[in-house]
């Protein structure tokens, strides 16, 4: 693959359209055809190919927009971050293979890490030299991290870690794990929580892949048996580090994967284009119910775009967004999951006589449907998001005042 890497990143102060136009032009010119899910030449990119692609995007100013220049970022604002995400979403390109590093580990390290940790970890994340996985969930501690059991015991200048994590996305390829442990006992609940940056090559770490319903092994169980790491692997101090991380996470939940509404729209266009390419499916598009359903989807996508843009507007003004990330996550996951069911119902009519694009869409949207079952589960289930909205957005009382 060859990418245009010697790009002058434009100065966004020259106009509100400058950065979005730059992203549109670079991505349109450089995205390999085989990475486009609407291409007849589509194939799954290898890890090396994805990494090379994302590194090229970074060098073109399309990753790490808001990270400080001192740590490899471009030192720009959330407005440029949003502009780039709109264009990333508008193309049917693969998901990032380093989203945990860019959207979770990086911002947390930026907030609680030492200067040495920032210099060591952050540029490597953006340049796609190192991938991260997230070691938070445990078999007995999903949303309820008070039940976390993985234990870290200090032994002089080292820490000894024992425990088990689960649902760890990308663990098999990760260089580091953002690991959440406790220094005391389960009775301490939310007290004594401590984070580490643990190299996945450390002796005592065992990764056991889990096969998901889409046939992939995208997450895993990770066992930590007498894993010993130096004190320099610690991210912040007990309690203090995790408290800071929580604050970071509440913003990250609202600002990560901002491309979703635009990708949602891209998928809708892909579905319609595939139907139009096929004599039988194109007739379905004349059906009043289908037209109404498409109209509903367009309204939902508009609402999602509005939620994302409003978040950026508020953060840019320095306003607090509280738990508003839950609104976006919940609405996107439920609308997109319903869209995946709608798409499946259309492409399930595809057969040997169907057009090549329709046959391509049948594979893509069946896969998307299966994966969409996870969307109301990961990053806080629907029920958790509803709880958050009731508690922290609406302040609904559970007892009489």
């Amino acid at each position: 693959m060859h990418f245009d890497q010697h790009v002058a990143v434009p100065d966004p102060s020259a106009g509100p359209d400058i950065y979005r136009r730059h992203a549109r032009e670079w991505l349109g010119k450089n995205l390999p055809d085989f990475m486009r899910s609407d291409s007849l030449n589509w194939r799954a990119a290898t890890l090396a190919e994805s990494s090379e692609w994302e590194a090229a995007m970074y060098h073109a100013g399309l990753a790490g927009m808001t990270w400080p220049k001192a740590y490899g970022g471009h030192g720009l604002t959330l407005r440029e971050h949003l502009a780039v995400n709109k264009e990333i979403g508008a193309l049917p390109m693969p998901e990032s293979v380093s989203s945990i590093g860019k959207e979770l580990a990086g911002p947390i390290i930026m907030t609680v890490g030492t200067e040495a940790q920032k210099q060591s970890f952050l540029p490597a994340i953006l340049a796609m030299r190192e991938y991260w996985c997230q070691g938070f969930s445990e078999p007995d501690a999903g949303s309820d991290l008070a039940r976390l059991r993985t234990k870290a015991v200090q032994e002089g200048a080292h820490w000894r870690i024992n425990g088990q994590k689960i649902w760890t996305s990308g663990a098999a390829k990760a260089h580091y794990c953002l690991l959440l442990t406790r220094t005391g006992t389960v009775a301490d609940k939310h007290r004594g929580l401590l984070m580490f940056a643990v190299p996945m090559s450390t002796p005592g770490i065992r990764v056991v892949p889990i096969k998901s319903i889409d046939g992939k092994e995208s997450f895993a169980e990770v066992f930590f048996d007498d894993v010993v790491v130096p004190d320099s692997a610690r991210l912040g101090s007990p309690d203090e580090g995790w408290s800071a991380a929580i604050r970071v996470l509440s913003i990250e939940r609202a600002t990560n994967r901002m491309y979703r509404p635009w990708r949602f729209e891209c998928e809708l266009r892909q579905l319609i284009a595939a139907c139009k390419s096929d004599s039988r499916l194109s007739q379905v598009l004349n059906d009043g119910y289908v037209q109404r359903r498409v109209g509903d989807l367009v309204a939902e996508i508009d609402g999602l775009k509005g939620l994302v843009e409003l978040t950026v507007e508020r953060l840019s003004k320095g306003e607090s967004i509280g738990a508003r990330g839950s609104l976006t996550k919940l609405y996107w996951s439920e609308c997109h999951q319903a869209f995946a069911s709608f798409a499946l119902s259309l492409v399930s009519q595809v057969g040997p006589q169907s057009s090549p694009l329709a046959r391509r869409a049948q594979k893509a949207f069946t896969q998307a449907y299966l994966f969409s079952r996870a969307e109301t589960i990961y990053a806080g289930t629907t029920e958790v998001q509803l709880d958050v909205i009731a508690q922290r957005v609406m302040n609904l009382p559970k007892d009489l005042a």
Binding site: P16, D296, M394
Partner: protein, 314 residues
Amino acid sequence: MTMEDLQPEEFAQAADAAITDALSHQDPRKTAEILAQAGLCGVMAAEADGGLGLDISFALPIVHAAGRLRLPFPLAEQILLAHTLVDTTEGQALASGERIATIAWQGSLNDAWIRVDHGNADWVLVADDNGAVLIDIEGLSREEQPTLDPDHPQTWIATQDARVLARLDSESWPALQRQAHILLAEFANGAAEGALQETANYMATRVQFGRPLSAKQAVRHLLARMRLLQEVSSAAIRRTIHTDEFGQTRDTRPALAGAIANAAFVIEKAIHLHGGMGFTWELPLHRALRAVRKLSAAFDSLAQENGRAYIQSV
């Protein structure tokens, strides 16, 4: 404070007071007079026409308040017509509240009948082949359709022999429709917010089994879903008044279709959560539902039209 310093949110306070005052009279003429005196009817009208000359962002909180407080008056239409009929006696009469005008969202001058949601208007804007015309409906045949809203019935009006007062050309009419989509969406969203606020307050104080109903997870989750949809509508409406990074305006139709559907859901669930009281005439939530369902009827085909247009655009 000068007009330049004024923020839309601050204007909302004046709107609340005037609408509350108008509601106490239950007379459309008096309502128009009070709203006009508070500057609401002419908020977007030119200063030379007796208006305030402000942009649509100032009209948004006004129609939101009208929806939230369940004002049975075509305020969105009145504001926009006073603005659009610039430098005319009709525009001035609307800004001053001397006359009341609405828009027929169903039917055109070519049809035998048009339908309006506010039959007590003096004038109605009606689509025609070249744009739209403002007609005087005094003396025209009419048939009220009180099934959905007996107090403020939808009204069919025969357009034959209608007297034309003013014309909008083929550029002005779509521009007016676009602004009307935004304001009517905000009216529906205001109605939803009012119903949601009242329901959340009631759930927080209505005690059953020793605790407020808002302690029950089923209730909390339903209220959270209602809040979600109301926030989605707000966000979708808000983005229609801004251009994108390239200076392009955004389609207003999806925001209106979404806001109406979301508001209907929120208000229906608000009635449900009030239990038996919600089903009574005494509790005014049904008035909000009737107002929003009249909008549903007026824009019944909008979602399908949006879908068809989107499919054609691919």
